[in-house]
Amino acid sequence: MSVATPEQPAVEPAVQKPEEAEKLVIFAWSGELDKIWPTLILATTGAAMGKETTVFFTFWGLFPLVKNEVRITGENWMQKMLSMMNRGGTGHLKLSKMNFAGAGKAMMMHLAKEHNVASPQELMALASETGVKLVPCQMTMDLLGLKREDLIEGLEAPAGATTALAEAQGAITLFI
């Protein structure tokens, strides 16, 4: 192992590339475990890289923001039915494939624990702590019957598509 001197760096000299985007904006559309996971990994990494990071949660992506203890959401029977069939909260997410009525998900969580991979709950908390802006989409909240009090603490005020696109200007953008 060689110790670097200022003249001879052991690795390569760190040069800040001026063209590198300083913002990361992720549109979290999917609510499944295997999609919200990379969303949160990328968001927390973006924050660690010093990027101003925002995640807009819309449509199915809103459900992971529901508090784990909240069971039924919505005002009319359709919205209530939706929440019954698609329980929200980071602790109740399903895999997009090989979920096997929860058995696949349980195995995945077991593997994650074995490999010391942070859970979506931990990553959501880390995102909040490290300054990632978590923005729920107002229109889809109304559509799906999700109220602000159904959702976890630490979120930004709900906003719309214009806010999302304005934030996305000049940023790395991902739609997951």
């Binding site: 192992m1 060689s2 110790v3 670097a4 200022p6 760096p9 052991a10 690795v11 390569e12 000299p13 760190a14 040069v15 800040q16 590339k17 590198e20 990994i41 927390t44 990494t45 924050a47 660690a48 890289m49 010093g50 490999h115 010391n116 991979v117 942070a118 880390l126 490290t130």
Partner: protein, 79 residues
Amino acid sequence: MDATIAMSLDLKGLSCPIPIAKTARAMKELAAGQLIEVFATDPGSVPDFKAWSRSTGNPLVESGKEGGVFRFVLRKKET
């Protein structure tokens, strides 16, 4: 320049993205020019620390492996 290690982080056993996230957070407490050493076992941390250094401008002055443990030394950039 002060060549002694100002802070040491044991991130062994942790997986992506936690080693980078914790390092980034710890580095905020350092003064410009100070060194931090990080121990990790995630093989992905080798390219990741390199990329993080390149992207944030905090020089990676050392990257090595001893007995299955990776050791990285980073210097907080001058602001």
